[in-house]
Symmetry: C2
Subunit: 206 residues, 2 copies
DNA sequence: GGATGTGAATGTCTTCACAGCT
DNA sequence: AGCTGTGAAGACATTCACATCC
């Protein structure tokens, strides 16, 4: 069960969403073909993805919705909620703070940091915006695995390094730079301008 | 020059960013090794990526910054600005509206739509929030290639279909669903909760 | 000497196709 | 009969390594 393709992990998260919907609809069993249709892939791909972790289905029948849901939540590490900290109290940070999708999936923002004295001390949803200078001190008291970085590109690398040496193990990076960090740290980038640029490319070739 | 890997196109957009920085710093020539360092990849990868589109470098020297910048902007279709429309005037929509990265890369929001009567008619940055019911009428008057969809999952598929039949050719989708659309339409998904879930997975296996 | 450009080799992911359960 | 589970084949992407040129 070593070395699962990243693309597989992403699809598992999609399958999980559809399983939860199906479960709400009272469905007991689901086929790889149905999961595939909703996940934008093929039934063979679904079976292969799941087979990395064992065999959950019954031949001739499909997969039991409830059991598979539980197993996927377990595989993805979503059985217990995750605390995350948010670095950067700008517009995008604000949107993320209030984004219902995070809470729904068990991620709760435990602290917000900024370096702007005008923001520090104010509150969002009752949550204090703290001085980023206190990052290390706070993380020593309350270790946190996941940080969301929503600050300008110029500051991102430096802050990321501080996060890592303070014990953060995973970073969701919205700054449009490639962070250079040890391989032991998981980094995922969200670069919205870059997505638009790839769409622009597609428009020129199609 | 057919069938370029998507991963290559994404890296080209990254290279472009670093080229522009280097150019601002007065650098005249840049090696594949330097581009690689900043793009988080290898020099061989950089050369391979660029070689899909021709040979721009001088052996022993590297790539001319100015010429390569221009060529990449051309390849990515960024020589002229792009109008985009924004569907959904919620918190994330607001953040995108004010996101400086879009304007910097030549993307300007030309119209915003929502279906909430309380929002319709108000203005963001002087830009009117329009009734999504007028989408087709407006697109007939002002055809637009790119739409950014920032609405709840339940409404996304239906609106996406309307966009496509009104002539939209590329969609940046923030709704956490897999849109099912003709292959002729370019779709890119940004799913922030899903990114957190893949990080959660990484935490459980490392 | 130094860095590109590129076929060939390797590695990774997806699709096929069918044996094996239920 | 229906649908999973999975080796094998195929497609795709990355890395190697070296001839080529400035």
């Amino acid at each position: 069960m070593r070395k699962i393709p990243e693309s597989t992990v992403r699809r598992l998260a999609l399958y999980l969403r559809y399983l939860e919907e199906s479960s709400a609809g009272g469905q007991v069993t689901i086929s790889s073909a149905e999961l595939a249709r909703r996940g934008g892939t093929t039934s063979a791909q679904v079976r292969k993805d799941l087979s990395f972790f064992g065999s959950f289905g019954k031949r001739g029948l499909g997969y039991p919705v409830a059991a598979l849901t539980g197993r996927l939540r377990e595989i993805l590490g979503l059985k217990s909620p995750h605390r995350v900290i948010l670095i950067g109290a700008g517009k995008v940070g604000a949107a993320l703070m209030h984004y219902p999708g995070f809470a729904e999936r068990g991620f709760s923002v435990a602290a917000i940091y900024d370096r702007d004295p005008r923001k520090i001390g104010s509150r969002w949803n009752g949550l204090l915006i703290r001085d980023v200078r206190h990052l290390e001190r706070d993380l020593r008291r309350e270790p946190t695995d996941i940080a969301i970085v929503v600050i300008p590109a110029t500051a991102a690398q430096q802050v990321a390094e501080r996060l890592v040496s303070a014990g953060v193990k995973a970073i969701l990076n919205f700054a449009p730079v490639q962070l250079v960090l040890p391989d032991s740290v998981a980094v995922r980038n969200v670069n919205m301008a870059l997505e638009l640029e790839t769409l622009s490319y597609d428009l020129t070739v199609r």
